[in-house]
């Protein structure tokens, strides 16, 4: 801590950074990273230490800190995903990755689900490009908020494209004899 900096100035930054580090670690951890040996506490500590050291060594200007935070977050999340991919690929090669998506167990409904999926995804391909993108991303598991952030759109645009896309999808399925029932 710099001698010119009072505890009143230091504490909010430290507290906010600590909370942020734990939240980021929890978000990363939620994506099966624990399976691959990534520990939430280590990640949180790493993020906190890197940002805090930069803050301590430099002029403590939060505006300068902003671009450094981008880089730390980028590098932490990219490293975590790379590690997960590497570990996941190794486990899959060994046939030890037992992860299955929810509701995808080997029940007798699998064939029906497979056919259903093929029918719907085939129909999605017939949608207008912008609507196809939103519906396709939604079906891939992204929420409308996530699609909005990813596409850098306004929420209203995402909502409109999604609901129009769904209406089109119902019409296409109905025309093909696979009527959508509300």
């Amino acid at each position: 801590m710099s001698p010119t900096e009072s505890p009143a100035e230091r504490e909010p930054v430290e507290r906010i950074l600590a909370r942020f580090s734990h939240l980021v670690a929890a978000r990363i951890n939620a994506f099966r990273f624990r399976d691959y040996g990534l520990e939430q506490a280590d990640l949180a500590q790493d993020i906190f230490v890197r940002i805090w050291e930069y803050y301590e060594k430099n002029d403590k200007n939060i505006r300068h800190l902003e671009s450094y935070i981008y880089r730390v977050v980028n590098s932490v999340v990219i490293d975590a995903i790379k590690r997960a991919r590497k570990e996941g690929a190794a486990l899959r090669r060994l046939g030890r990755d037992t992860y299955e998506p929810p509701n995808a167990s080997g029940s007798k409904g699998d064939e029906y689900k497979h056919r259903l999926r093929a029918t719907v995804l085939g129909s999605v391909k017939q949608l207008k490009p912008s609507r196809r993108k939103v519906v396709g991303l939604y079906l891939a598991g992204l929420t409308l908020d996530e699609i909005t952030a990813l596409m850098n759109w306004k929420k209203t645009r995402t909502n409109n494209l999604f609901y129009r896309g769904l209406e089109d999808l119902k019409r296409i399925l109905a025309a093909e004899g696979d009527a959508h029932e509300d």
Binding site: N74, S75, K82, R117, V120, L150
Partner: protein, 232 residues
């Protein structure tokens, strides 16, 4: 085959096409996914990646994680800006509970007026556009070159245009947005890439750069992130 809304939700739960891709050789790199989530890719590149996400549950799950982390990052920066005073400004020190004194009635009335005025200033400053908070806000700062195309490392020069500034800071990043070089204060609107930077750059790689203009009143304007490639 009748399809109900719950069937669609079931498809969502199983994550679109369920392809078995043990090595994921055709998946975008984590760097590309992060750049896509930061809207730092060209329209064409972004379209390719979002098209891939529609058919790959692994990448879609990774993007969900990246977006969640970036959302926390935005919240952190907002919290820091709101909680920490600008350098040089001191926060008021906390004091113990004072004993009431008649003479303080006047002082408290004056304080109330000052407080209201301060509150007004804070509200105006919070809701007025601040050039130093957001890229693209305030006077425009546009990158001229190198942008989008491939450039040779020899004689690589960064040029931009924007408002009159006291000085500029140029930052160059690699494809994973790791900082390669930060300039000292640059007075004009161009700077030649120094050897310490070009030595660290490789041919046929993607790089990013950004300019920060420090204006006369010490406020800062940031350009958008520019992308370029290096030639052989």
């Amino acid at each position: 085959m009748k399809i109900s809304l719950s069937d669609l939700e079931d498809i969502v739960a199983t994550g679109g096409e369920n392809r078995a891709r043990p090595l994921r050789d055709d998946c975008p790199s984590p760097e590309q996914l992060a750049l896509c989530a930061r809207s730092a890719l060209s329209k064409k590149e972004k379209s390719v990646i979002t098209g891939h996400l529609m058919t790959c549950r692994d990448c879609a799950a990774e993007v969900k994680t990246i977006l969640a982390v970036f959302a926390e990052e935005s919240r952190l920066i907002r919290d820091l800006q709101d909680s920490v005073p600008a350098p040089g400004k001191k926060q008021p020190q906390a004091t113990g509970s004072p004993r009431w004194h008649p003479a303080w009635k006047i002082a408290s009335a004056v304080s109330a007026v000052v407080l209201l005025a301060a509150l007004g200033i804070v509200l105006v400053s919070r809701f007025a556009p601040r050039a130093d908070r957001q890229r693209g806000a305030g006077p425009a700062l546009a990158l001229v070159s190198p942008v989008n195309n491939a450039f040779s490392l020899g004689g690589l020069k960064f040029t931009w245009r924007g408002p009159a500034a006291k000085y500029h800071i140029i930052e160059v990043f690699d494809a994973s947005l790791k900082l390669l070089w930060r300039s000292a204060g640059v007075a004009g609107n161009e700077v030649t890439a120094p050897e310490e930077l070009t030595r660290r750059m490789k041919p046929k790689e993607t790089y990013f750069w950004v300019v920060t203009a420090v204006l006369g009143d010490e406020s800062r304007v940031k350009s958008k992130l520019g992308e370029f490639k290096t030639k052989d």
